[in-house]
Symmetry: C2
Subunit: 887 residues, 2 copies
């Protein structure tokens, strides 16, 4: 005989561990029941039932039906009422509830069990005819739209017309008679639309409602929600059937929501709102102003005490701040829902730290409580949440660099620079940015681009600076010539000077100005970070190109610089002239002359970094981008440069043309530049070592003697010989300079591992002398997976939607594929040199999942943009704690 | 006591195995000596001595000096003459000779031992004053320019002025007195130039000469030669010091060269030329016409017999055709040199086959005798070697596709097409070619591009068609607008209609027309190929996109199609219209409509291929290039298309703009197109399977029933899921079509491994159903090593010169790096499916070293362009033979 499958669980039969079977809501209701909390009774149909229902062609198995019936019978018994009873009907709610929270994404039916007869009985029993008829009206409306799929507007239309006729402003102004008329009209309309009467049989109502919830699992809204929130592996939704309780049965009834702590600040103070003689919708409708929950203490001290008591019990049980819904029905307190409360980042930190103080949780648990990404909120400007709620976004891009920015639109970097000098707040809007735009990007409050992904130039630079950026917003058409910004499908065209607001944390773009709030770092934040540092096993460094970045990163706890991109130093002020002179030189002599002009700048840069980092390691990556990135592309700029350099426009254009590449990503850049033009790296080596010698002797900035261990990093190495040739060149200069200065400073020479070939010959690269590896996961992803980060936007969305990649591989490291290169390289590299130092300096270095991967694979450190340092520290700690827990 | 090192070997002390120590020439002279052949006696200073000399700062160790002296003493004893003897001086030659042949790359000094006194003795002893003074003159001239570094022209100047004064036309017209005057003037000039007398001490002459040879090892010419010919790992040159013998001592003396077989045809007939009473230079000077060696039979039958006898002995000893130099001095035959003779490809094949017939070598040895690349000569048009010798190249590009081409310059594909229709032979000259140019490329006799590497579009397409192509000729500036071709640094500008000649085997470009010879395949060629097929272990397929290609490839012995690039089919005639219509469609419906137009063409293509291949496997690769490759780029063409498609120019440009990619290599192409537009591959699947069903039933071309096993290959797969999604789509259509046709044909679905990520997840790809792998080594090299084939030309030369890559990785597979991806993928793939079919279809598939690699790594087959099929067959056989020999 086949084993009997249990499809339906009474609340008494479940617990919080059964989420995947009972859904989050069902498991929680069951858990609360087990705590002895007064939850309206009910039962849950399992998520497996939903799967079977959908698998066998939307049919409910007879066994399921019979289990529902027997649970319904016992519910009726508990409540002493019967579904559809003409005199004292049991009313139930039917609610969806999957294992993962999907708020508002699926449908709910309330007041189920009313019909033409039981409505009368309810009116009599409660002595509140208006309540009964309003409940019936609501049932028909919900059931009609959700289950029978009648247009919602058809109901609204009837409601509005009756209100108009009766001169009623609010729903609450409607009388019992008005409601009866509405019910009549609703039923007529439903019959007309569905060619059938509104079902009077409550059992039929229940069956159809259950099916509707099951069906809603696969509706567009729900699927999109799962896609957007990356919810995978769920089999379906559970259905919760629960006795209705009413807060609008008189002055001894009421309804409210409360938090065990303040969800906004985290303060350990009971917090909430309620309304007496009201239903949940009334609170939302905003007609009556809810009272602070503290008022309940006077209004109903016994209930208040019970509520506080329940809340404390539940919080202690779940060991986290709770968000609860309650209803008081005729003096009896029912808890409808309790769940871990959503909270701001500030509250999350405070609650976690407080719970440790209260000895409810351990430091490890506190660390696991915070979503590292949420820390962004603490580190960047945010929009005022109330103002944000009212605003409607006009376009959606990628959340490239978090924060909120408000300002006037400008279309060129120079405008951004000029207008900022005049004290204006500007948003730089570009099709894409290029290194030439760097000054303008620095000036702007926010950056908006139409093209490019999470690791496009705009995104990388913005994150590095902590500037808000929305990138790859393909809804935009930007005319830099006409200085207009058109939002496709919206018919909105903005011009220079118009105000916009960007939310870099969500990628949303708004027209007009939205108020912002400044970030503030609390002592609790510091405490949490200190705990994180206690537990984490891997180092956290920063990607910083300037002393300003470095100062910020140290404030955020960076333990060194993992990546200093020297090319960014080449764009500032007069330097670009010398760089261009070098590029336009045709002889070694001329190139050396131009490079000599850059040397003092570079030396000064490194002095600044060494000074700022006060002995922490500084990894200097040598020039990486192709030379054409330093030349202008626009006619106007070329003409200007031609004058400046005294080189004819034709010669200039020929040079630019000569440097043009079909696939610059795979072109003449990185260490390849130094193989053909060794003098470039020679200048950089000279600058690094001269700066290091200076600061060890007497820092030109502070006069102190710093300890310095320069780490020189060669980019884009693909072969052993590239590395050894360039290493030899570095050593030659460094040794000569050290000898000259009688200095015995230690220094390291290592390589980026960013070309796939390098990963598979990593053993040979170590043999040829590499002292450290730093994985450049941006390029490793680009080349390894054959994806241009600037172009892949066109299809990557589709790829993630189809599950080809679980996440955008430029946001979250592709651990299976690109991770395999890393595993191979580490195995080969450490096979030769057991203690090989291994880091990551791609954009992934500050992404929590990737940090966990790095922890697991034995990295020495991760390096990320300054603003992601705290995130990486927390993620690293979480990885260590999780590992410890597994053991 | 330190072991005594032997720095100098008498010829009697060496043998042919000692090449690396004695150099090729020294080892050969020793070997001949050991065969009892009358070689003028002498000794060899080892290559190690050269290395030490250069290592210790150009000094000759005392031990070396003493060993030289004792060998010189025994040489003097053998010859019964003394160096510098005033009455009967010993004269010697000093010649370089490294382990690898470097003809003419290093310096030689003859007649060493003459001075103001011994010249008189020589005159008396030989009774030939003119000979003695001419020898002295030659010594001063050679020694002066080579050792003393006096400008060669200074000697020429004196010689010419004396000849003018005396009214002498040729050197031979000069009298003894004239020569004495010249010697006097030479010595005066040398003294003036070098501030020292011409050294009279023969020992000093010898020492300086030896040093000069050692120095010449590192001169520019020699280094360039080694670089160009990829000669590596040698430590230096040996120096051979040998007694001089003279062919110009009277009518019983003479000199000549001979081959044991005809080096041009391979015919087994003694072949050569000689002159009596002459020196080697006289033959070269071209004043007297040398006689065929057969004439010697009459003139000196004994000598002739001896020569033939020696030749036979040497050939039998070396078991290969010999190229020999001989001198007859006063009736005595001396052999100066014997070496394996250089030969044409035709001769190489004939000699190898004949030697097998003569049982001198085995079939395996015959197979190893032929350089597979040399077969190109047999398969393509070649320039008349005499005409070629006289022509001076004006530019050097990459030898992208072998053969010789002569024609008028055209600058556009349409001009090529039009002019060819009119019967003209044209050379298509472009900065770079694109798929739009395909018709013009088909028409042209040859293709010349200024940009792009060995696997650029022009190169790949040209090789596929067997058309001569010189690519990436960076010496050119091409103005397609002005229709001019300027050769940098030459001041040559050619215009449309001017004639040029291209040598696709060397990459050289010539102005004007050079006569060409047609290729001819002999029966011996067929025999050799049959032997190759007997021994080789791996299959050889071809890359063919059209029945024409396929027919040619079958003629060359291809055993199937390893790569049919379906995109090439999209460009022909009306098809491009439908393709463009598809690209410009905004809806699925419209796209499907356009694709429906392509279906019959594609089906017909596949019918043609299946018919041609008569049951051999056909691997069809689905659409690979990014869609923008199908759209025009020039204003004019866009305007035309706009009219044709009835789409505004603006819309068209916007679309082209939208499709633009920064790194198209890493962009939206390959299977990515089918993930976003599944209907494209669906159409291709339909075409493949419908064609297969047709030909198995009744071939529409020949009416026969063919056996067909279509192999469908998905390009650019990087992830498991891409493959499984696309495989499922293929299977769905194929199964439906087979069911409908009641056909149970077998078919295979596999993938290219060309994205590095795919290589490291190869196991998972096999698990998800891949039935074969084909390595796309072009893209694997591009992505794996991060090299854009279209851009890398700028630095790859430098990379190869510095030994970073041993060869251009687009020509010869980078076995260490890219090979490692292949090894990883094979290990992972075969770990799951032991008999996984593995092929290669990149351009490397026909490159001998790569074929050997594929053999070693257990490939099932290699696939290459039709014209490389014989090369691959031979290379595969060589790999198998070499492996067998090792066991």
């Amino acid at each position: 005989m086949a084993k009997k499958v249990k499809y339906v669980y009474a609340f008494e039969e479940g617990n919080k561990e059964m989420k995947s079977l009972l859904g989050g809501k069902g498991a929680n209701l069951a858990e609360m029941k087990s705590l002895g909390i007064n939850v309206p009774p009910g039962f849950t149909i399992t998520t497996e039932t939903c799967k079977i229902y959908n698998d066998i062609g939307k049919k409910i198995l007879p066994e399921v039906e019979s289990q529902i019936n027997s649970n319904l019978a016992s519910l009726e018994k508990k409540m002493g009422k019967k579904l559809g009873d003409a005199n004292d009907p049991l009313l139930v709610s039917v609610r969806s509830g999957a294992a993962a929270s999907m708020p508002g994404m699926m449908d709910t039916i309330l007041n189920l069990g009313l019909n033409d007869k039981s409505v009368v009985g309810l009116a009599e029993k409660t002595g509140n005819a208006r309540f009964a008829w309003d409940s019936y009206r609501r049932l028909i409306q919900m059931f009609g739209s959700v289950v029978l799929e009648v247009e919602h507007s058809a109901f609204e239309h009837i409601l509005e017309s009756v209100k108009d006729t009766k001169g009623a402003k609010y729903d609450t102004d409607l009388t019992t008679e008005d409601l009866k008329e509405i019910v009549k009209k609703y039923k007529e309309m439903v019959k007309k639309e569905t060619k059938a009467d509104f079902p009077q049989d409550p059992k039929k109502q229940l069956e159809l409602s259950i099916k509707a919830v099951f069906n809603s699992w696969n509706n567009y809204r729900a699927e999109r929600y799962r896609e957007i929130n990356n919810i995978k592996g769920l089999i379906g939704t559970a259905v919760n059937i629960q006795a209705m309780v009413f807060g609008n049965l008189g002055d001894d009834s009421g309804t409210g929501v409360c938090f065990t702590r303040n969800p906004s600040t985290g303060e350990a103070k009971f917090y909430g709102e309620y309304l007496m003689n009201a239903q949940g919708e009334d609170v939302v409708a905003g007609i009556r102003t809810p009272l602070a929950v503290s008022a309940l203490q006077k209004q109903a001290p016994k209930i208040y005490k019970e509520l506080v008591d329940v809340c404390n019990r539940v919080e202690k049980h779940y060991k986290d701040m709770q968000d609860m819904e309650f209803t008081i029905m005729k003096g009896v307190l029912y808890i409808l829902q309790a769940r871990n409360g959503k909270r701001t980042a500030a509250a999350a930190v405070k609650v976690a730290v407080d719970l440790v103080k209260e000895k409810l949780i351990t430091k490890e648990q506190a660390i696991l409580r915070i979503d590292p990404n949420q820390l962004n909120q603490l580190l960047h400007k945010q929009f005022d949440p109330i103002a944000l709620n009212k605003a409607e976004p006009v376009a959606q891009g990628l959340p490239a660099s978090p924060g909120a920015a408000v300002g006037e639109i400008v279309f060129t970097a120079s405008d951004a620079f000029e207008k900022t000098k005049k004290g204006l707040a500007v948003i730089l809007v570009r099709t894409e940015t290029s290194p030439e735009d760097i000054d303008g990007m620095h000036s702007a409050k926010g950056i908006l681009t139409a093209r490019g992904g999470m690791t496009s130039h705009a995104a990388v630079v913005a994150r590095g600076m902590g500037t808000c950026c929305v990138a790859g917003c393909s809804d935009l058409i930007i005319s830099e010539k006409a200085k207009t910004l058109t939002i496709k499908d919206r018919g909105i065209t903005l011009k220079e000077g118009d105000a916009i607001s960007l939310d870099g944390s969500t990628g949303k773009v708004y027209v007009g100005k939205i108020n912002t709030q400044d970030p503030e770092l609390s002592g609790d934040f510091g405490k949490l970070m200190a705990w994180a540092d206690e537990f984490r096993k891997i180092g956290v460094r920063t990607n910083a190109d300037t002393p300003t970045d470095a100062v910020m990163a140290r404030k955020f706890g960076a333990e060194g610089i993992g990546l200093c991109r020297t090319e960014h130093m080449f764009f500032e002020g007069d330097r670009i002239k010398a760089v261009r002179e070098m590029i336009l030189s045709n002889t070694l002599e001329a190139r050396k002359k131009a490079l000599a002009k850059l040397l003092p700048y570079q030396r000064e840069d490194f002095v600044g970094l060494f000074h700022t980092m006060e002995g922490f390691p500084v990894t200097v990556r040598y020039l990486d981008p192709p030379l054409h990135e330093f030349l202008p592309t626009k006619e106007k700029d070329i003409a200007e440069l031609s004058k400046e350099m005294k080189v004819s426009v034709d010669v200039l254009k020929a040079k630019i043309d000569d440097l043009h590449e079909f696939n610059p990503m795979l072109g003449h850049r990185g260490c390849r530049l130094a193989i053909t033009f060794p003098e470039i790296y020679d200048m950089q080596t000279t600058a690094v070592i001269e700066a290091a010698i200076l600061v060890t002797k007497k820092c030109p900035i502070c006069g102190k003697k710093h300890k310095v261990t320069p780490e020189i990093m060669i980019p884009l190495v693909a072969t052993t010989k590239e590395f050894s040739i360039l290493k030899d060149a570095v050593v030659k200069i460094v040794e000569a300079k050290l000898k000259e200065a009688k200095n015995k400073m230690a220094y390291k020479i290592g390589t980026m591992i960013e070309v796939p070939r390098a990963a598979v010959v990593a053993d040979k690269i170590v043999t040829s002398g590499a002292e450290f590896f730093s994985f450049g996961t941006n390029d490793l992803t680009q080349m390894g997976a054959g994806l241009s980060r600037d172009d892949a936007g066109k299809f990557l969305k589709e790829y993630v939607a189809q599950g080809i990649y679980e996440f955008d591989p430029f946001e979250v490291l592709d651990q299976e594929g690109i991770g395999e290169f890393i595993r191979i390289a580490i195995k080969k590299g450490r096979g030769i040199k057991k203690d090989l130092k291994i880091g990551i300096c791609g954009e992934h270095g500050g992404e929590p999942r990737t940090v966990e991967f790095c922890h697991r694979e034995g990295f020495t450190y991760v390096s990320c943009s300054p603003f992601r340092v705290p995130i990486a520290r927390l993620a690293a700690a979480q990885a260590a704690v999780k590992e410890k827990m597994k053991k």
